[in-house]
């Protein structure tokens, strides 16, 4: 138990003294997982909209694939991306393995199905009459999609949080494709694994505290946005 208090104390000590290595690790975590979430949103929301609103053969299979992907194990993604990025492999030409770009790539693959799957669910939870009304008002497909996204924005913010939470906390993929290289690809989760392996449990706990703190701050900001938008049920007259 003492160890946990020591870890919490150490976390604040590292924060206040501004330990450059810890700051860099935290910054890289935020940057890698933040850009991965952003890319996943830019790809996942349009994909989710298309799948939710259109009808074509194989649509159910695609949605099932995406729903399965929502639970994609990070180690599996890490292994696949590593093998693809090996320099004697398909995408080896880019020399991306053991760089932050490779980590972003792996995390996009993890976050994309989460965002797309939740987008589909969000749009399908809307009142179906809304779609009919929009068609009736003469909206183009694009206008209709934009309007429905606006309507579903509160649920979509939940997709952002789920996607970000999924990638900032994962260790399997970033450890494999990033290599946990000091000063280059070391992030909070992989640093925690390393410190544990080295027996520095207090530092490992301190890093965990920082990770939780970071995730909390990001989610707090997103929740603030979400709840500001949220209109409470009007009182029944």
């Amino acid at each position: 138990m003492d160890l946990i208090w020591q870890g919490i104390y150490k976390a604040f000590y590292l924060l206040i003294t501004g330990d450059p290595e810890v700051l860099h690790i935290t910054q890289l975590s935020l940057c890698v997982s933040g850009s991965a979430t952003l890319i996943a949103l830019l790809l996942g929301i349009p994909a989710g909209v298309v799948l939710a609103l259109s009808q074509f053969p194989g649509r159910n299979i695609l949605i099932s694939v995406i729903n399965t992907g929502m639970g994609l194990p990070p180690v599996v993604v890490g292994l696949l991306v590593t093998v693809m990025l090996w320099r004697n492999s398909l995408l080896g030409f880019f020399e991306l393995l053991y760089t932050p770009v490779a980590m972003v790539l792996a995390q996009v693959i993890i976050a994309f199905p989460i965002v797309a799957g939740l987008t589909i669910a969000a749009l399908q939870a809307l009142n179906p009459n809304l779609k009919l009304q929009l068609v009736g008002l003469g909206a183009s497909r694009f206008q209709m999609a934009l309007c429905l996204i606006r309507e579903a924005r509160l649920t979509l913010l939940a997709a952002v949080m789920a996607g970000f939470g999924g990638v900032i906390s994962e260790v399997g993929a970033v450890l494999m494709v990033g290599g946990n290289i000091k000063g280059q690809t070391r992030v909070l989760t992989t640093a925690t694994v390393l410190e544990t392996r080295m027996g520095n449990f207090d530092v490992a706990i301190a890093l965990s505290v920082l990770l939780l703190l970071l995730t909390f701050i990001v989610n707090f900001v997103l929740t603030r946005i979400q709840q500001r938008e949220h209109v409470a049920w009007p009182l029944l007259k």
């Binding site: 080896g92 760089t99 972003v104 290289i181 392996r197 080295m198």
Partner: protein, 272 residues
């Protein structure tokens, strides 16, 4: 797609601040977990145009990664396995770097009564016959390779409820061993780093079979055009240089009172 590309490029620029040429070093977890590489790598990078990317994995994975041309240079500690790969032509220029030793550690009550024995093989026989709990790395690391060799020499096929394979790093394996009050074969560097966190004491040490030799090898560039042969040679030359050997000899003295590794390259030069 435009966003995607520009973000990827931005992320790429962000990560690659330096223009140095990368050298991928595949090595064992013990060199990283002990902190040795945190001293050696910066010393090397300061004086060359290369930047080291350290991938710390088990020796088995390090050798396999190198043999596939996915690393440039390896620093490993499984001599028998290394020789197999050298024979296959995967590596060249194998040179001794340093050594320390393995210990057989266990609970103070010593259920298999091996304390005081001098032969590791005899101790392994006794552990098996008494069915005392043993925790194995089980991950094809250098330590695991040696452990399997010792079981083989003792003519024992370790199976059964007393033999636990955890498939994790040395530190985790020691923690599991400590919780289960079991015997563990460990390298000295990791044991020293963990000794105040676990309840296991050294029982067998000093047997010549327990010597832990680290070698550096360069990946055979003839098979793989992308291998950075010059970077690999620069690093392997550095690690056997008097400067690096002096760093190795001094490393850990301040923290543990004794060095964690003993340099071997100079000795070889003296012999010549």
């Amino acid at each position: 797609m435009k966003y995607f590309l520009s973000l990827m490029i931005l992320a790429g620029l962000w990560g690659c601040g330096s223009k140095k040429i990368d050298v991928i070093l595949a090595t064992t977890t013990s060199t990283q977990d002990s902190g040795l590489l945190d001293v050696l790598v910066p010393a090397f990078e300061q004086q060359t145009e290369y930047r080291i990317k350290t991938i710390a994995v088990g020796t088995g994975q390090a050798l396999e990664t190198g043999a596939r041309g996915e690393a440039d240079v390896v620093l490993v500690h499984a001599p028998d396995l290394e020789m197999q790969y050298v024979a296959k032509g995967a590596f060249s220029n194998r040179r001794p770097v340093m050594h320390n030793d393995f210990l057989l550690v266990g609970p103070a009550e010593d259920p298999a009564l091996i304390k005081g024995m001098t032969q590791a093989v005899g101790a392994f026989e006794k552990m098996a016959s008494s069915q005392a709990l043993f925790v194995s790395r089980g991950d094809r690391s250098g330590t695991h390779v040696l452990e399997k060799k010792l079981w083989k020499m003792a003519q024992i096929d370790p199976t059964g409820p007393w033999y636990l394979e955890v498939g994790q790093g040395m530190g985790e394996t020691l923690m599991v061993g400590s919780e289960k009050r079991a015997y563990v074969l460990t390298d000295r560097a990791t044991y020293l780093a963990f000794q105040d966190k676990i309840h296991l004491i050294p029982l067998i040490e000093g047997d010549v079979l327990l010597r832990n030799n680290y070698h550096v090898m360069e990946v055979n560039f003839e098979n793989f055009p992308r291998v950075n042969r010059h970077g690999a040679r620069a690093f392997s030359d550095f690690i056997v240089s008097p400067q690096a050997q002096a760093i190795i000899a001094a490393f850990g003295k301040d923290k543990f009172g004794s060095p964690l590794f003993y340099p071997d390259a100079e000795n070889e030069q003296l012999k010549k």
